[in-house]
């Protein structure tokens, strides 16, 4: 059971996301994360889906995705060299004083940004792979993480390979 990152190019039409996600739940596959947005081609969106399963299941997910009429291309990016990122926003309890400066120091070490300061809280923006986000989350927990939101993983292959070129 390993995590796979699927990069899925789809027609930019209403309902396409529910077709894709519906397929996963219907066939008993769990989506770990999902990110969707317009991509470099007109009328096309890219969905990045992280799914865990054995080889047979992953092969079946890929084939079933390909069967959807509005799915243009499916690539398992985790099969090749790739870069991946997630973005997370964390609202951390940090009133004036020591706590606030410690949180800001931790953020600095992780090259995270402080994007909002309230009377008792800071909002920290951090970008990185899942490990990095988990690490800063662990360090900030003792101060009190009031809210956390993350984008879901996005990924691209290294070098000149692209999903639409099929490599």
């Amino acid at each position: 059971m390993t995590a796979h990152i699927f990069s899925v190019l789809v027609e930019d039409s209403p309902g396409v996301l529910s077709r894709v996600t519906g397929l996963f739940s219907r066939r008993g596959f769990n989506i770990e994360s999902l990110a969707v947005g317009h991509c470099e081609q007109p009328d096309t969106s890219r969905i990045t889906i992280v799914v865990t399963g054995n080889d047979v299941q992953i092969e079946q997910v890929k084939k079933q995705l390909n069967k959807l009429i509005e799915v243009i291309k499916v690539l398992d990016i985790s099969e090749s060299e790739h870069v991946e990122r997630e973005l997370a926003l964390m609202k951390v309890r940090a009133g004036p004083g020591e706590a606030r400066s410690e949180v800001m120091q931790i953020a600095g070490i992780f090259r995270a940004k402080i994007i909002d300061v309230g009377s008792d809280t800071l909002v920290v923006e951090v970008t990185g792979d899942s490990g990095k986000i988990a690490a800063i989350e662990d360090l900030l927990k003792p101060y009190g993480v009031l809210e956390l939101v993350r984008t879901g993983k996005i990924a691209l292959q290294r070098g000149s390979a692209t999903v639409s070129s099929g490599r």
């Binding site: 519906g22 219907r26 092969e59 079946q60 084939k63 079933q64 069967k67 009429i69 243009i72």
Partner: protein, 563 residues
């Protein structure tokens, strides 16, 4: 300027649609108003489920795309079972549903249901049209998607205001739909085809396992040619019946749960399984690990997702059955006999034929055998689901593809009778017989109204045993005869039919069966034959669910054997 409803009718005409099965309602009034003087025939059914089954039956018998029409909400929801039936068996159907006006969408309006949401898992694709200017393109795409690649149902949901809105006439050239994400592959990979040929030429005990894909791609002639060249016996799934004539010396009949003993033995002992247009369904394979345990597997299918889904093949070939078979045939040099294997298979066939007791009582198998004798090469056989279906699959003598119409994958009781109406319109010169049980027939019996109204000359043979027979059989064999809610009270189908103005008769003795069938066949209109069969007859052989297919329960018949 044209209305959406006009564009719809023109689009259907452009696709060659000459018949629609439907049921009107509030939001489809604009479409029905256009149909009033269109060149498309409309058959008014008594329930929308019957409309889609009829469209499906039309598609199976003709090879063309069937079309049905229903109103929004309850009308559309009544199509769901029929869509699922067509989806499971890969049947090309286009279903058109009305929808509340776009301004009310999502508003819980009267007779509103989210039919594109509801049918997403049971359609190959579906559309909610929000602008009449898209309609022409969508109709072309829908028919293209339904009838190419792995065929299947497509639904088009049409809000009322889309039907009434007037838009500029965009009647451009008849261009092919451009779908970036849909490019079915017909031609098999040449390397894989060569590997399949190599395995075929090395095989000592080859068997063909053929299914609905062979019928769907009109590849029966090529299949039989390959079987004959290779002296390779052929077993078919329920959906594949008819792709080789029942009487052909290489035919082993159906395999699987109610397959013949010799087909299941041949699969189990084979060293090469040539699988084509099949999906290794659990009713076929039984315990999947023990299915064809000694065989190398070649799997040919137009749907890449079927390959490796249930059983990993040695040679996967994605492609159309007809195209791949033609390519393989070109590479098979001459005839390749397997005398030892042929002899072994012949021995199984001789020693383990299908059987039923011939004690003078009225056994359902005898009814089907008699029907086969009376019809000869004529006729199209439609079944309901359950014991009636399995006995017909086992005992009717099919001579050609598209002669056998039955709900395989979904196993939809209530499918057969309404489907037979579509079968008649697809093949008006053929006698059409429905083999039903008393349970199944009562699931869509209201269609007697439709066959009476249009004088659709289908003949229904009800194998009336006053049980939900197949479930009762399982209760007898696996639940210690605890017949929990499977007994049905006696129904006089003759009287029901006559109340609709349909000719009918009741048969209680085996000696009357042939004459009754001949009377039904000779009658110019619809006919219902209520045949009171032995109540606790079972379907044998039977492989218990999840067991190895070579371990069959064969029953205790001694007397009548197949010829």
């Amino acid at each position: 300027m044209k209305s959406g409803a006009q564009i719809l009718i023109e689009g259907l005409t452009e696709q060659g649609v000459d018949i629609i099965f439907g049921y009107p309602g509030g939001v489809v009034l604009p479409i029905y108003d256009e149909l009033y003087d269109a060149d498309i025939r409309h058959i008014l059914v008594r329930h929308e489920q019957a409309a889609i089954h009829a469209a499906d039956g039309y598609a199976r018998a003709s090879g063309k795309t069937g079309v049905c029409l229903a109103t929004s909400g309850p009308g559309a929801c009544n199509l769901v079972t029929g869509l699922a039936t067509a989806y499971m068996d890969s049947i090309p159907v286009v279903a058109i549903t009305g929808q509340v006006p776009t301004s009310l969408l999502g508003n819980d309006a009267f007779q509103e249901s989210d039919i594109t949401g509801i049918t997403m898992p049971v359609t190959k694709h579906n559309y909610l049209v929000t602008d009449a200017r898209d309609l022409k393109r969508i109709i072309r795409e829908a028919f293209h998607i339904a009838s190419t690649g792995r065929k299947g149902p497509v639904l088009i949901d049409l809000p009322k205001d889309v039907c009434t809105s007037m838009v500029p006439d965009v009647d451009g050239p008849d261009e092919q739909p451009r779908l970036r994400g849909y490019k079915p592959k017909y031609q098999g990979h040449s390397k894989m085809i060569q590997r399949a040929v190599d395995l075929l030429l090395q095989a000592k005990r080859p068997v063909i396992y053929a299914g609905g894909g062979v019928i769907s791609s009109d590849a029966s002639a090529e299949l039989v040619a390959l079987a004959e060249k290779m002296c390779m016996p052929v077993t078919t799934t329920l959906m594949g019946l008819g792709c080789i004539p029942t009487d052909h010396p290489l035919n082993l009949g159906m395999l699987g749960m109610h397959g013949t003993e010799y087909a299941n033995y041949a699969i189990t002992e084979s060293d090469l399984l040539f699988s084509i247009g099949v999906r290794f369904d659990d009713r076929v394979t039984g315990k999947i690990e023990a299915f064809a345990p000694q065989a190398k597997i070649i799997h040919i299918d137009i749907d890449p997702a079927e390959i490796g889904k249930n059983k990993q093949p040695d040679v996967p070939i994605v492609g159309d059955a007809k195209s791949v078979l033609s390519d393989i045939l070109k590479k098979i040099p001459e005839s390749c006999p397997h005398p030892e294997w042929s002899e072994k298979v012949a021995m199984w066939k001789k020693n383990h034929p299908l059987r039923y007791t011939s004690d003078g009582k009225l056994h359902p198998q005898f009814v089907i055998k008699t029907l086969a004798d009376v019809l000869g090469e004529k006729g199209i056989i439609v079944s309901e689901v359950g014991q009636n279906q399995m006995w017909t699959a086992q005992w009717f003598k099919f001579t050609r593809p598209r002669q056998w119409i039955s709900s395989g994958g979904l196993g939809t009781m209530g499918y057969g009778f309404p489907a037979s109406m579509g079968v008649h319109f697809a093949c008006p010169d053929q006698p059409v017989f429905v083999l039903a049980g008393d349970g199944s027939f009562q699931m869509n019996i209201q269609e007697l109204g439709t066959v009476a109204q249009y004088n659709i000359p289908v003949k229904v043979i009800v194998l009336n045993n006053q049980y939900l027979g197949m479930v009762r059989q399982w209760q007898q064999l696996f639940y210690e005869r605890r017949y929990s809610y499977t007994e049905l009270p006696e129904v006089h189908f003759e009287r029901i039919a006559k109340a609709y103005g349909i000719e009918a008769a009741t048969v209680r003795n085996a000696s009357d069966v042939e004459a009754a069938i001949r009377t039904a066949l000779a009658h110019p209109g619809p006919y219902v034959l209520d045949v009171r069969v032995e109540r606790e007859e079972n379907v044998f052989p039977m492989v218990p669910a999840g067991a190895n297919i070579s371990e069959m329960i064969v029953g205790h018949h001694t007397e009548h054997e197949e010829e």
